[in-house]
Symmetry: C2
Subunit: 419 residues, 2 copies
């Protein structure tokens, strides 16, 4: 039998460092040419496997693969595509098995969040049942930081750094102008159900009066009256008020404050626009001049201001996933384990996908201040190490140089997939 | 007579590098202690002069002043406050004269855009008429890049770099996901009447298919049909479409596409929210899934990704303004003069405030492609040098360390100003 091949796919919303994980996977696999044949990457994630669109990463130079470490977004393409359960759509799973068999793929590394880890977990069991066992290893990734077991998720540290830097800078802007102009600034950040990203922005406030003054978390039911009172007191005390609002902030009845209406492929509501909503409310009730920003994709693709810690960890989980696979471990995921000491340290541990799948890790209540509007020292202790260090990409002509892949597809062997 | 003092004020919307100009002013003035006594900075700009709130910058350490070079926003406070004409409000001018006399101020350096240069110009003449001549020197600043004579305005290069980097990164994000998710991304940038900032974002597109695919300029009347056709063709060709839209984009009749309704102190309409407007239009007409971002203050305060060229020029105009003042030049402004050679070079020249005041420099039509949706090679040649080089601030605990001033106010000598 020829050496087994490895299939790697990126899944769900991308991050500033998911390609650093891809870099870790491919560079590590290349060190084991005795055991791993080709490393295929799914064109647009798992959808590429269904369509037998397998990018042959061996066709990319070592230099290009190295450049992935500092390239944001999903270089091979990602997708929002969740496999249904085997009972609901056995054909999809059978197709994957067929493609993997046809291309002698025995390792499946799935780089994604909770939904993807669930898929990898189910697929591992199914492949055993079907008599063609595939070693399935998850690679954690999500800006939302909501995976359990792992101390943090690669991708989060960089968005955390971006939002903290941004609100510090915009806060200084508003502070400069507030005597005669804008008094309230509202910045909307990602975070559907968990306030990790919004919370990290709180790191920017180091001294009394620093921005942000108010953080609105999805975990804390929005209280209009209390909020407006707090805004007013900040303006009175500091001359201005900088607010960070999580896109997922909710009313007491669990409805989103501002809902765009659409739903994504995973059935989640598509959010956006809570910043102008909040800003308008402040204008109407308190009369303050306002500005607002919605960072949207800018925050999760901001490789130019990535956290060095995050980049290092993203690479490490990719590398470890290959090590796990070669050790024959299946249905597992490398997890980041924080050391117990006072000084931050971390190592790679092992999590069972069954324990990771479909569990959403919320922010502990003790990370949020009693009044619900800021973070506590416990939160600072958790967040601070994750944004440590700068890892600047190379620049040419004033712009960051990001990897451009050839994306050569392997020759197809099967009939077209009709979905 | 004791040595004359200097008054420096920041005016209007702040930038990532206006404090670099302040640094240039103060460090240069400190080299001329034989001629310049104290350097006062207006607390919140010219309003600080009216209220006799004069920050004694001598009370700030050399280290703090040096740190201004890498601190965004207006460290002394800025304001949106335009002096009325002398005929309309002689009291304000007389008050300024009174404050300047009381504090032996003979030099007035005004760091702002067109409106401020107009004020400085009028004040220079008035002070001569009143028999207490003040040497008035403008220091150019505006992210809008709309001042005449100077090749570019300090502040612009950094916002240009920010928007080009941001759309490159967000473009990669959308490209990763477009096969199964978001197909259109709209990023709104500043630029009320001139499309300089939107145009600079075009630098990110270096090869066919690169983001941004479409730029909407205030200079080009919005044509809904043509725009939607272009979006559709981009999605067809590249799989996705990244749009940069200037806040000031207008309909054929001159009305803004999206108008927030409010007006600022200068009587300009307060804009915002054209990105969601455009995104909704695309969704309604073409059905594509979209995301949008509004960078707002984030773009003009983003010192973390400032252009090194911009920082250098901002410092240089501040330093030159002091040199001009000491040479007895009044009603002038240092201007950036671009060299004629193929390789970019610049030097400081001298512009008369009378020629600068209230003139808005628009983008030349030949900087915009024939179809109105992108920039030309001529534009690239102009923009490219302005975003050259990185000038990173210092970081501590993962966050940029920005100057914190003591802002010690000079003792008041006059009665309170009642406005």
């Amino acid at each position: 039998m020829s050496k087994a091949n490895l299939f790697y796919a990126q899944s769900g919303g991308v991050t500033a460092v998911i390609n650093a994980s891809a870099c870790g996977v491919i560079e590590t696999a290349r060190k084991h040419k005795d055991k791993i044949g080709k490393v295929y990457a799914g064109l647009n994630g798992i959808v590429g496997a269904l369509h037998e669109e397998l990018i042959d990463t061996n066709k990319e130079s070592a230099k290009t693969i190295a450049a992935l470490r500092s390239t944001p977004a999903g270089a091979f393409g990602s997708c929002r595509y969740k496999l249904k359960s085997f009972e609901e759509n056995a054909r999809e799973y059978e197709r994957l098995m067929e493609v993997f068999k046809a291309h002698n793929i025995r390792y499946f590394l799935y780089n994604g969040g909770g939904d993807s880890q669930d898929t990898a977990n189910k697929f591992a069991q199914l492949s055993i049942d079907k008599g063609y066992p595939i070693t399935c290893v998850g690679v954690p990734k999500t800006v939302d930081n909501d995976l359990p077991i792992t101390d943090n998720c690669p991708g989060f540290g960089s968005v955390a750094k971006y939002v903290a830097v941004s609100i510090r800078e915009a806060g200084l802007d508003v502070a400069s102008m507030c005597a005669s102009s804008t008094k309230v600034f509202v910045m909307e950040v990602m975070g559907r159900h968990a306030g990790w990203i919004a919370g990290a922005a709180g790191l920017a406030a180091e001294q009394e009066g620093d921005a942000p003054h108010i953080i609105l978390f999805p975990e804390i039911a929005f209280n209009r009256e209390k909020f407006l009172k707090k805004v007013k007191s900040c303006v009175k005390k500091f001359g201005y008020c900088a607010v960070v609002v999580s896109e997922g902030v909710q009313n007491a009845d669990g409805s989103f404050l501002a809902e765009a209406g659409g739903k994504d492929a995973f059935g989640h509501a598509q959010l956006g626009g809570v910043a102008p909503f909040i800003a308008d409310m402040i204008k109407a009730e308190l009369g303050y001049k306002y500005h607002w920003a919605v960072a949207d994709y800018l925050q999760r693709s901001a490789r130019h201001i990535a956290s060095a810690t995050d980049v290092e960890q993203a690479y490490a989980v990719g590398a470890a996933a290959v090590d796990f696979a070669l050790a024959g471990k299946t249905a597992v995921m490398p997890a980041i384990i924080r050391g117990k000491g006072k000084k931050y340290s971390w190592r790679i541990g092992e999590a069972k996908l069954a324990d990771v799948a479909n569990v959403e890790k919320m922010m502990p209540r003790n990370y949020i201040s009693r009044d619900g509007f800021h973070i506590t020292d416990a939160a600072r202790e958790y967040f601070a190490p994750l944004i440590q260090g700068e890892d600047y990409p190379e620049y040419k002509n004033g712009l960051p140089q990001y990897a451009r892949l050839k994306k050569v597809l392997e020759k197809k062997k099967l009939k077209a997939w009709r979905g």
